[in-house]
Symmetry: C2
């Protein structure tokens, strides 16, 4: 990678501005693949990692990942602060997790039916997650949130599900942020409130009336382009109280935060126990798997719904998940990520101040985010993240980032070197 101008490998935080624009990354291989992709993939790529949504200079195609690093198809290396948008938590190609997967695959194959690993993994969830008396498994995070709301409706015989405005709960017609192809009926039973706003919550509860099946909520507020905000304790307690009083189901959507905040469930430190919780992303260090964990009194409803898939019994992904959960506990992964996250967050705050930018660095340390608060925040973020990537660190301009246990203190220093150069260039350009 051409890190022209970036003091790569410097062990200490650079204190001086570095206003030089880094050289463009080589991208001829990426451009060739984009051209081929443009002929056979709609718009050249589907989903949330379409290059046109990203700053200029972000590649479309990646060729390799290892530890805390990713390489694009042109061989440009970056410290990955996105961790595949969460799934990677113990490092890419972690030999312990990959061996567990490969060994299960070799011994058992892609088997016909459920294997004992489904029991062992459910036992692991029950053991680790404070409120969990049982667990069941799917593939996508959206499978987990859909299964959870379906269980809540089956248990209560009611329809309405309350969710926070702009909270993401998966790529399903009743939750997608985009409106294309979505009908009014897809959302007819969803009532929105404002996160941390008691008045709006009470209005939503009143609107649901006797038909309140569930309140689904993320452990903290993590909307794109916004600061991450901790849940207000009184607000969380009120949700629990409303669900108790109305015999509705409290669903904690821990797909994004799960195991990065606490292995016991992200609201366990608050002393608030959900009825159902949804997991995916990091639970098998990147292998496709999701889970719903629930309390005993919802087991019958969970058993009554029709929820299944051809690949939902995949035993190798479950073996990987067991190994991943064990390794996270053994190394106290949340503490490791917390330390690295604080190092990154403090470093960014200092750099922004020294370069004269006003920013908010927010979020649990294992999933930090930085937002510019002056000038043109999103434009600044695009320029800054493009420049950081040119210097070898992959930060997302408008979505929260993720850390892993594979990020060493030196990795964070290198990422901060890149970000310092990016601040320097931004300062030159907009100053």
């Amino acid at each position: 990678m051409d890190h022209a101008g970036a003091p790569v490998g410097a062990p200490s935080r650079p204190q001086t501005r570095n206003p030089v624009r880094a050289a463009d990354l080589p991208n001829t291989v990426d451009l060739a693949w984009r051209e081929r992709a443009g002929r056979v993939l709609p718009g050249g790529m589907y989903g949330h990692i379409k290059a046109p949504n990203y700053p200029e200079g972000f590649p479309q195609f990646y060729s390799r990942s290892s530890g805390s690093r990713v390489w694009d198809v042109d061989g440009n290396e970056a410290i990955d602060l996105m961790c595949s948008w969460g799934p990677m938590i113990l490092g890419y190609n972690n030999p312990i997790i990959d061996d567990a997967y490969r060994s299960e695959l070799a011994n058992r194959g892609l088997a016909y039916g459920p294997s004992p690993k489904s029991v062992e993994l459910a036992e692991k969830f029950v053991d680790l997650v404070e409120h969990a008396d049982w667990a069941m498994f799917g593939k996508n995070g959206g499978d987990a949130t859909t299964v959870a709301t379906t269980i809540a409706r089956a248990a209560t015989g009611r329809s309405k599900v309350l969710k926070a405005r702009r909270s993401y709960h998966g790529s399903t017609p009743w939750y997608t942020p985009g409106p294309a192809g979505i009908t009014a009926e897809d959302r007819a039973n969803i009532i929105e409130f404002t996160y941390n706003d008691l008045v709006s919550l009470e209005e939503a509860v009143a609107l649901a009336g006797e038909d309140l099946a569930a309140i689904i909520i993320t452990p903290h507020r993590h909307e794109t382009e916004n600061d991450q905000i901790a849940v207000d304790l009184a607000f969380a307690r009120t949700i629990r109280k409303i669900c108790d009083e109305k015999s509705a189901v409290l669903i904690l959507d821990d797909v994004r935060s799960g195991f990065r905040v606490s292995v016991k469930g992200s609201w366990e430190p608050l002393g608030i126990s959900p009825d159902l919780s949804c997991y995916s992303k990091c639970i098998a260090n990147g292998y496709p798997l999701s889970a719903v964990a629930g309390i005993e009194s919802l087991a019958d409803a969970a058993s009554s719904i029709y929820a299944t898939g051809s690949f939902w019994y995949g035993s190798a992904e479950m073996a990987a998940s067991i190994a991943c959960l064990d390794a996270m506990v053994e190394m106290d992964a949340t503490s490791v990520m917390k330390a690295r996250g604080e190092q990154l967050m403090n470093g960014l705050r200092e750099q922004a101040a020294s370069h004269g930018f006003s920013v908010v660095v927010s979020g649990p340390p294992a999933m930090p985010f930085m937002r510019f608060t002056d000038g043109k925040p999103l434009d600044y973020a695009y320029i800054w993240s493009a420049e950081a990537l040119r210097r070898g660190a992959l930060f997302h301009p408008f979505h929260n980032w993720f850390l892993s246990t594979a990020h060493t203190s030196d990795d964070i220093d290198r990422a901060l070197d890149a970000s310092d150069g990016a601040f320097g260039y931004l300062s030159l350009r907009v100053g």
Copy 2:
């Protein structure tokens, strides 16, 4: 496995009745796992492979699979006529497919973003599937059908989707066969018709009026507990004509039949071209993957919808799929499965007649099914399939079966030996 009474390995079809009930399979390990499962999985197991839905003697937990065989946790071996409900098509643990997966995983890891494999796989779909100008990928079959209907709605700006009554299109709230936890609004934009019934189709079209977005249909009729019935050519042509006249989208749900009937798409032999087609199950020989393939004029709509998932870029599954599609073409897999399927179907017809049972054996040969038509059909099917399993062949009592290229002629003979013993016992019991 204790195949007491079953002439295992006999190369020719047994012509004599074998009225002895086979010994129960050992099941102490399965029972022990069921007890553990009962404490941590709702109802002891989730989804479509819950043992309580199956004949007595069917195990809950499987330990291994290889080639055309599966073994339960007690070591009982069976020829698997379900192929994991379709995903297995080239044999469990097929070294070519597994090597492609493992090699991609080792070289590339569970990478951050899209890899060139997504382009190569889309090119493969465009190359093989007659109507396809592009493809995009998900994990579940239900992802593919949901993405397809969302694209249709985005393209047309309309809401109503027509589907055949009892046709299965995936485990999503708008399609599940079970009603638990499903709201009226989930189905508000679905209008049902009767498969192969032109009058009911026209009524459904009239009901949709100017709001007809799509007609989604399986290539043939394959409802549980029913004969499989080929689509009536005039019916298929009428669907195509209606979609053309109304500028609605024809979605072929090829999740179950895809690549078992034709590598060009299951309606290609009929000369009828869908606008979108949905694939999953066998496209990566068991690795979790699904696909939507579409025509050029729907590429913009496909690109406009919000459809994504943390695991939807998985490059190793795509490498497995490329290897799987190549291998299927190279060995002319559809012809291999057709020959084995006809061997099985003819054998079952002969056995039923010789034992005095009236049955219908139906379906494309690669996905056959047998239904008893006298006595108590479902009771008979339960007894027959339980007895066949005791003799080493896994047939489903009420869902169509699947064949693979790993099923040898000798495997089919062995399965027929098991089924002959099962007919013999059933005859003794109900005769």
